[in-house]
Point group: C2
Chain length 153, copies 2
């Protein structure tokens, strides 16, 4: 993945800069959107729609989304054809989401669990490891091609 | 949630009976579907469509889906209007998915991480705790109503 769009709602901003820096460190051309969340009046689905359109139309190769729990962004992104979003809650999960579902959207929970872990780890190791996994794990193809095609039928 | 439909692909069968027993123990009327996965020719989206239709049309109050990693079922279920699916990877995540997104579909990974943990824990504590959380945590309402409505627009 060479080009990735990054966006968050009002609660995700806390780790957004770190995500952007790590993506750039690993050679990704990062873009953002004007509809970035600023306060509690923003809704994850509005952001998912803008980002999802870019992914679906091939303007970018993938996306990284951040909200408080990650759940809203994950549900919203998966509503959109061509988008396959997974919550980055373990390296193993990101690995399998790339191998089996060709996941093209990685979602971080800024406020809880792994988001907190990501922030508190000195070198942001978890964040970087999951980003590397997302960028470099190859889709397995085979029977999984049929399965992801069915998602959009 | 009084009525819940339960389904798995070919890899999820290993914990399906346990899920059904636990749901019944907690007072749920459990149903299954004819399209249950039996071998590697089944695809998660076919199962999601049948289950999603029941959820969307109010035939059941919710669903529990199981596949190997949980990722395919999670993505597939979230493709369908009226369905809000979350991977049951922690009690905290199930709690927030109920509070903020009114999650109506719980997904278990039978093959990895918490699926394995669920199977190996003698009293299946993790499985039961997440099921209790899913059944009894109330949706917070408020601004979250607007957000989940936007998922289906």
């Amino acid at each position: 993945m060479k080009k990735i769009v990054v966006a968050s709602d009002h609660r995700g901003g806390v780790i957004l800069e770190d995500v952007i820096k790590l993506l750039e460190k690993h050679g990704v051309i990062v873009s953002t959107i004007d509809e970035q969340g600023k306060d509690a009046t923003d809704d994850y689905m509005d952001i998912c729609k803008v980002v999802g359109r870019e992914v679906k139309n091939g303007i970018v190769d993938g996306a990284v989304l951040v909200c408080g729990t990650g759940i809203g962004m994950m549900m919203g992104a998966n509503r959109i054809k061509g988008c396959r979003a997974v919550l980055a809650d373990s390296i193993e999960r990101v690995y399998f989401a790339r191998r089996h579902e060709d996941a093209n959207i990685l979602v971080y929970p800024a406020g809880y669990t792994d988001g907190r872990k990501a922030i508190k780890t000195p070198e942001h190791k978890f964040l970087e490891q999951t980003i590397i996994e997302f960028l470099h794990t190859e889709f397995e193809q085979g029977r999984h091609v049929r399965r992801i095609q069915k998602l959009d039928k």
